[in-house]
Point group: C2
Chain length 316, copies 2
C-alpha cells in the first residue's frame, strides 16, 4: 500500500517521515515511527553530540528498522553531529537551515541518504543541484521555523515537484489520510509530519503541551518573528502575545532575542508551561483531537488513505 520511490530510497514501508522536533522527537518516538514502517528522525537541533549518540543507541535497541537524524546546518558543529549520527546507525540525514552543498557528498560517501528541507522552488533546485536524494518541501502552515516566502503546501508542492526531478516529500498541514492522499495528488511522493506525531504517547512533550494542541481551535496558532528574528509558528499564548506586541512597537531583533531569552521550548516541553513556553505547532493542530500511539497514527493514515482512493475511484 502506497509504496513510492521514497520507500525504495530510504528502505522503509510507508512514505511517512517524522519531522525532526527538538525536545519532542527523541528515541521513543523515532523508534516507534520507524518500527511502524515510517522513518523516524531524531530532533537533534539543540542536543549536544553525546546526547545524540545516547539517543541513537536507545533507538537501535528498540528497532532494527532504518532511522535518521534532523540536523539544522546553522549549528557550528553540524559536521560532527552528522558524523556522530552516521557512526551510530542513522542511515538518513535530514538537513535544514543551510546550504545542502556542504555535507551531501560526505553523507552519501558513507552510504547515507540526504533529505533537504526547503520552502520555495529556488532552494529546491539548489538542493537538487547539490545532489540530495529527496527534497522535503514545507508549507506556511507548518509548525516551528518557517520560510519567509509564506508559500502554502497546496501552492508549493505542485511548483516544487514540477521544478525538480528528484522525489519530493510534502510537509505542513498533513495529519491524516486526507492530507496524505492530497499530498500525493499534488505531486509529492510522501509526507513529513510533526504536529500529528507530537500528539502521540511516544512524543517527549509535556502532557500540558499535548492537551493544548488537542484543544486547539482552527485559528489557534500564529506566526511571530516575521520581520525580526525569523518566522516561527506556535500555539497562541502569553509568550506569542508578548512577542507580537513588542514587534508591533517596533522592537529590534536583539531586543526581541533578549526578551524571549533561552529555553522557551524546554519550558513548554519539559515544564509544561503553556503560557510562557514556546509551543511549536502547525495549523493542522486544530484538526488533531486524539492522542494515539505513533504506530496507530501510521496504520490509520494508510487505511484512511486507501478508503479515500477508493471513493475517488468511484468518481471517475
Amino acid at each position: 500500500m502506497f509504496r513510492t520511490e521514497i520507500c525504495d530510497i530510504l528502505g522503509i514501508r510507508y512514505p511517512i517521515i517524522l519531522g525532526g522536533m527538538l525536545w519532542i522527537g527523541k528515541a521513543d518516538l523515532v523508534a516507534a515511527v520507524s518500527d511502524a514502517g515510517g522513518l523516524g528522525l531524531l530532533g537533534a537541533g539543540g542536543m549536544p553530540i553525546e546526547e545524540i549518540v545516547e539517543e541513537l543507541k536507545k533507538v537501535k535497541k528498540k528497532t532494527d528498522k532504518p532511522f535518521g537524524v534532523n540536523i539544522p546546518l546553522v549549528r557550528p558543529d553540524s559536521d560532527e553531529m552528522i558524523q556522530a549520527a552516521l557512526d551510530n546507525g542513522a542511515s538518513v540525514i535530514a538537513t535544514s537551515s543551510g546550504s545542502p552543498k556542504k555535507f551531501t557528498r560526505m553523507i552519501q560517501d558513507q552510504g547515507g541518504k540526504v533529505i533537504h528541507v526547503v520552502a520555495n522552488v529556488t532552494f529546491a533546485k539548489k538542493s537538487e543541484d547539490a545532489g540530495v536524494d529527496i527534497i522535503a518541501a514545507e508549507g506556511y502552515e507548518a509548525g516551528g521555523h518557517n520560510g519567509h516566502d509564506e508559500i502554502t503546501t497546496m501552492a508549493l508542492i505542485p511548483q516544487v515537484s514540477s521544478a525538480v526531478k528528484i522525489p519530493v516529500i510534502a510537509a505542513g498541514g498533513i495529519a491524516d489520510g486526507r492530507g496524505f492522499v492530497a499530498a500525493l495528488a499534488l505531486g509529492a511522493k510522501g509526507v513529513q509530519m510533526g504536529t500529528r506525531f507530537l500528539i502521540t504517547h511516544e512524543a517527549s512533550a509535556h502532557d500540558n503541551y499535548k492537551a493544548a494542541v488537542i484543544n486547539l481551535p482552527d485559528n489557534g496558532t500564529c506566526i511571530t518573528g516575521r520581520s525580526t528574528v525569523g518566522p516561527t509558528r506556535a500555539v497562541k499564548n502569553k509568550l506569542t502575545g508578548m512577542i507580537v506586541e513588542a514587534e508591533h512597537k517596533g522592537a529590534k531583533p536583539e531586543e526581541l532575542f533578549e526578551m524571549i531569552g533561552e529555553g522557551r521550548s524546554a519550558k513548554a516541553c519539559v515544564e509544561g508551561d503553556c503560557e510562557e513556553g514556546s509551543l511549536y505547532c502547525g495549523q493542522i493542530g486544530g484538526h488533531i483531537k486524539e492522542l494515539k500511539s505513533a504506530g496507530e497514527v501510521i496504520v490509520e493514515m494508510i487505511s484512511e488513505a486507501g478508503s479515500i482512493v477508493k471513493s475517488l475511484q468511484n468518481l471517475v
Copy 2:
C-alpha cells in the same frame, strides 16, 4: 467524471466554480465557464446594478447553462443586487464579507441556491446554521481579500468539512487537476478558482496583468493590509512595496486608505499598469504558465484529475 453533490445542487456538470473577480469575471468569462460545465460567477462587487443586469443579459445570450453572481455583503445595496441577479437569470448567489443569515432565505424562496464564502470553522458553522446550500472555504493562499486567521487550504478543508454536514468547496491554491484531486481528498466536494481563470482568453483583465501572472515566481505575491485595512493578496509590485513600507512605519488605516486611493484594481485590469495598479492574485499564480480558454482549463483539469486518480489507484 467527478460528479459530486455540488453538481446536483447547482445543476452543473463539473464541480468547478469561477470565483467572483471584480473587473475580470464579466459576461465572457462567466458564460465560458458555465458553458464548459462549471459554474460562472459574475464578479459584481464594484458594479452598479445596471451593469450587473447588462452583464447577465450578455451571459444569457451566450449560454443556456446555470450561472451565478458573487455579491460582497458589505455593499449597502446588496439586497437590490441580489434581486437584480435573480430577476436576470442567476440561479446561484455567492455571498461573502457579511452575515449569511441576512439573505439566504430570500434567495432560496425564489429558487436560488446560496454559496457562502468563509475562511474558518466558526463562520462555516454559522453559515450552515443560516441554511446556506454550500460553503466555499478559502485558504490563505487565495488572491484578493483574505481571512485574518491565515488558515491555509490544506489545514482548512479537513477542519471545515469535518465541522459541517453541507458540502464544502475548496478555494485557494488550486489551478489544475492536482489541486482538484487534492481538494476532493481533503474532504471538499468541488473547487473554486480565481487566478487560474484570470489567465484565460475570456477574462477581462489587461494583457499586461495576465503576462505578469504568467511570469510570476513561486514567491511573487504578498499580503498587505494585515493589521490595517484588511489582508489582501496581490502580485508584489511598486504599490505593494509602498503599502508595506507605510505599514512598517506604523501608518494608520485612514492614512493607508488615502495613500492607496480609489481605482487601483481598474488601473491594473483596464489600464494594464502593473506597478501602480493592484493585481489580485493567488500564490498558485506561480504555477500557471499558459494562457488558455476557460473551456480548455476545465477539460484539461478533469482529464488530468482522471489520470491522477488512476495513478493513486496503482498505489493501493
